[in-house]
């Protein structure tokens, strides 16, 4: 921002600005040495493919978090959307044209996600909820949406029974990476270059002032939550397409990974800063780390410990960043 400040704190600011990048490189180097199979083209492509679902969630989460909110219902939304898509494919896709069914399934899943986001957004906008309420309301919505997914399926795992045409291609090969990359570009432009994006930053930085400045705060919040829900819907499609089945618990924990990715990337929890380009970096870190833990052979339970620690650590670093940015103003 200001050149004079930038010149003064050299090493500190470099570390803060590029810390994630450096961390990423360090992780890659260490794991490649420990396990040569890690740094192969195949595995790297795998990482990108696996990251794309969490990446989509993280893109949506970035919008909500830049606006100063939080969406913990994301994981359940992923499950619900996936379940709906597979159920549609199993009914229409088997009897009719599988390609048309795929389009319907995609639209239905994204709509379902959008509706969950709509509910979140309308509730939070109505009560003027701050971060605290965002947490609790969306956490409760996670329970509600999760229960809906269980109700729709009767708690059962659903196997795909449709012909493997268009729908199966969405989550395999290069398409999930392309979908993620394409959406990331669009959303980056939306956040950085449009009026809507600038208003979102304003809203996240200071809701009261944004309201006084004449920004339609409520409308903006609803839209942001809807975008987040729709991203979750897309993630649900990609996952179910890849595994050719759906489980009502499939998305459990996705919201945490998404938050981790966003925060590691450097979008502040307090809203008003950050961006999609940072989140992409965060997604890569989370994806590479998860893959590295698998490759090195850490078991799934122990990975939970690492995941939790990373969330706390990332937010701690975020706090340090902010502390440095507004030194002296912190109470």
């Amino acid at each position: 921002m200001v050149e004079t400040i930038k010149n003064k704190i050299n090493i500190g600011s470099t570390l803060r600005n590029y810390g994630v990048m450096i961390g990423l490189v360090v992780i890659i180097i260490i794991v490649s040495i420990v396990e040569p199979a890690f740094f192969t083209g195949n595995n790297l492509l795998n990482i990108l493919r696996q990251s794309s679902a969490i990446g989509l969630c993280a893109l949506g989460m970035t919008y909500v978090m830049v606006a100063g909110g939080m969406d913990l219902s994301l994981g359940s939304t992923v499950s619900l959307a996936g379940v709906i898509a597979i159920m549609i494919m199993n009914s229409i896709g088997v009897t009719g044209n599988a390609d048309v069914a795929a389009v319907i399934a995609v639209i239905a899943a994204v709509t379902a996600g959008g509706l969950v986001g709509l509910a979140n957004g309308v509730i939070l906008a109505t009560i003027n909820g701050r971060l605290g309420e965002s947490f609790i309301i969306t956490y409760s919505m996670q329970i509600v949406v999760g229960a809906l997914a269980l109700l729709v399926t009767g708690g059962q795992f659903i196997f795909g029974r449709f012909p493997e045409q268009l729908y199966s291609k969405l989550g395999t090969g290069l398409s999930p990476i392309l979908i993620f990359a394409g959406l990331a570009i669009v959303m980056q432009l939306g956040l950085a270059k449009t009026n809507f994006g600038r208003q979102t930053y304003f809203l996240g930085a200071n809701m009261n002032v944004a309201k006084m400045a004449g920004i339609k705060v409520k409308q903006l919040r609803v839209i942001n939550h809807m975008i987040c829900g729709m991203c979750a819907g897309l993630a649900g499609i990609i996952i179910t397409s890849r595994v050719y089945s759906a489980s009502p618990l499939q998305g459990t924990g996705y919201e945490l990974d998404a938050i981790a990715a966003v925060v590691i990337g450097g979008t502040s929890l307090m809203g008003g800063s950050g961006g999609i380009h940072k989140t992409i970096l965060g997604v890569l870190v989370v994806g590479i780390l998860a893959n590295a833990l698998n490759v090195v052979g850490v078991n799934a339970y122990a990975q939970l410990i690492v995941r939790g620690a990373i969330i706390i650590l990332a937010v701690g670093l975020d706090g340090l960043n902010r502390g440095a940015a507004i030194k002296g103003l912190v109470s």
Binding site: I136, S140, L256, Q303, I312, V315
Partner: protein, 329 residues
């Protein structure tokens, strides 16, 4: 509860009463409706069971209220609860032969709960990380530890003494209910009549002002987490005495239920006000609701759905009433 109306010296206003004490209304209506639908519901044994059920979660709800009054929040309570069950069962199986061993197992479990709480407290107060994120992270970490420790399996115990504690009763009232009532009574006393309690109110009301008036706000924030860790461990021990086993599947909804009970009771999430006694009522309302859902024979998923919806409605209503109240001022 009458103090409020006395202090304000206003004529009895039913609309005001409903807005300020919605719990009583819900509580009464609900019991009556279910009582009419299912006469058994108000039977003595069912009421006894109801109190049994709420005593375990109630202990944590009580301390969650203290945390919320202090302006903090603990999601990791559910994982501490899970970890405590598992640890207590394991220790009982090792040392459970003698009375001293059982006591030692209980003490070690309680201390481990307090250590988890103090880690939460240190992260929040020293590293200045938002308590939601801290406890969210800790929730995952402790759950991971519990899973690694048990390899995802259930740990059971056949200790006779513990079984007696969980099922036994004095004067027709189960031991667990005594523990709960005594716990709430102590918490109520501390929050209302001691400096410690008043300072927690002050910290939650306005941390900056509290600090300027010489209150060690960070200390109280830290203590709140230790207390909630202790309560979660106690709840874990109480659950083990009831079901004689510990598992990562028991009590994942604890933290949110505790928050729900607090908010239903009428303690605002914005901190600085509220009461442990109100949470007792909130817990009772939730207990009746959950019992009624089972009584009406609803499918488990519908029960979860309704629990979640209740939470959404209650929290949203609380925030809405609070904000609109502030505007009126």
């Amino acid at each position: 509860m009458n103090q409020q109306s006395q202090g304000l010296k206003k004529s009895f206003n039913i609309k005001r009463f409903i807005v300020e004490q919605p719990v009583f209304i819900i509580f009464l209506l609900f019991s009556i409706v279910i009582g009419i639908l299912k006469p058994n519901f108000l039977g003595l044994s069912n009421v006894r069971n109801l109190f049994m059920d709420i005593s375990v979660y109630g202990v944590v709800a009580c301390t969650m209220t203290i945390a919320i009054i202090c302006g903090e929040f603990d999601l990791s309570a559910s994982s501490t609860f899970i970890w405590s069950q598992i640890l207590f069962c394991t220790l009982l199986n090792r040392w459970g032969g003698s009375a001293l061993g059982i006591l030692a197992a209980a003490i070690v479990t309680l201390i481990s709960g307090m250590i988890i709480g103090s880690v939460n407290g240190l992260i929040v107060t020293r590293l200045k990380i938002n308590s939601f994120i801290t406890t969210l992270g800790m929730m995952i970490i402790i759950k991971g530890v519990a899973l690694v420790f048990t390899d995802g399996k259930m740990v059971s115990t056949s200790n006779g003494f513990i079984a007696k504690m969980g099922t036994g009763a004095l004067l027709g009232i189960p031991y667990l209910v005594y523990i709960y009532v005594v716990f709430v009574a102590i918490a109520f006393f501390v929050m209302k009549y001691t400096r410690f309690g008043r300072n927690i109110f002050a910290t939650g009301g306005n941390a900056v002002v509290a600090k300027l008036s010489g209150i060690k706000t960070l200390f109280y924030k830290y203590m709140v987490f230790v207390i909630i860790g202790f309560a979660s461990a106690l709840a874990g021990i109480m659950l083990v005495s009831q079901v004689r086993a510990g598992s990562v599947l028991y009590g994942t909804d604890l933290a949110l239920t505790a928050v729900a009970a607090t908010v239903i009771g009428g303690t605002s999430l914005s901190g600085g006000s509220g009461s442990v006694a109100k949470t007792f009522l909130g817990m009772l309302v939730l207990g009746i609701l959950y019992k009624a859902l089972i009584f009406l024979g609803l499918q488990a998923y519908y029960q979860t759905l309704i629990k979640g919806l209740v939470l959404v409605v209650v929290v949203a209503a609380d925030a809405y009433l609070n904000r609109s109240g502030n505007i009126r001022k």
